[in-house]
Symmetry: C2
Subunit: 222 residues, 2 copies
Amino acid sequence: MTARRAPGSSRKVVDHRTRVGRERRARTQSRIVAAALQVYAEQGPDAPVIEDFIRAAGVARGTFYNYFKSTSALFEATAKWLEEDMIVSIETEIGRTKDPIERLTNGVRLWLLRASSDPAWCSFVVRNRRRSALVEQTLAGDLRGGRRKGVFSYPSIDVARDMTVGTVLEAMRRMMHGRVPSTYIDDVTRIVLQGLGLSNAAIDAMLSRPLPALQRPVQRVP
Amino acid sequence: MTARRAPGSSRKVVDHRTRVGRERRARTQSRIVAAALQVYAEQGPDAPVIEDFIRAAGVARGTFYNYFKSTSALFEATAKWLEEDMIVSIETEIGRTKDPIERLTNGVRLWLLRASSDPAWCSFVVRNRRRSALVEQTLAGDLRGGRRKGVFSYPSIDVARDMTVGTVLEAMRRMMHGRVPSTYIDDVTRIVLQGLGLSNAAIDAMLSRPLPALQRPVQRVP
């Protein structure tokens, strides 16, 4: 551990190279994921093999494996990308809302609305086992905020998260496999809010507020 | 549609043959599923190919396809078998309990207790996309019963079911991927009951009752 730090000037060069390298990596990764979306749209989630992704992205096999260990890692990255894109769209609308209860209410409604109108997106999210970090952080922030305000009441943040995520995922599974009544999305939101300890009157007040429409275009499965 | 019914005596022979045939089918199916459990235990849920199952069950390839269209159909049947076996064990304990709220409370607790103590069983159930008919019927009966008693309150039976099943599945996923605090199972049950409209006092009363232990031996993944 006697290696010296590089002096200022050459260190800047190294930093610059690192940054450029990182940006190039991110671009290549995005290109592979975008190509993968196309492949999944054509063949479904299980049929494609690694050659399909390599051909669509126009990268060498070795390059592909530099970014993704397996097709299931690629699937996970693609689903994560779609999930985070949706969170960004939701935040663009409700980001100005400070009330965590209203944020969570409209977040769940907009998420389920997207799921019901975009089955391809829905099926990506449902099949992916892990939620993206952005989903987890956003949700945890609102759950904690609602409890601080004395409105949410739950045994632990983990359990509140598991009830919210689990209910939404199960609702998405139902929407994938058949039609649901027009009240379904608000009914799911209602039972989640009840699970978080809201009274009926408070839930009615929340659900009577107009739901903002998503303005930012979302990433569609082609 | 002018075919005549067979007269009494020969009809009895046909009935007998049908019954014997059905029993033989059920036996063969059970044998394939039992062999499949062994294969999954050795190789995990994704690795086995159709030859592994055929060899383990000692049946011809054609016979296998008579019973299961694909390895994923076999996986589904195996998971369903494990799920229904668990419901039978739970019913053996709580079948005498008439109160639907107590039934649901202890059903959820026993289910999660099994999941935490038997990771192989847990992973089968979590990976299977559909719940078995026996799970659906038992749960729907208790949800309806609790509402008739004026204790449960929910927007629709579908939404109540999706919240309960979704929360339990998400809890099982968490238990599969790491340790949970000793209070976790009761905390999950608590938030489900809160979602179904129970007051804190009613939930405390429910969770303070002793949980019966499962006496009937459950089907273990070997």
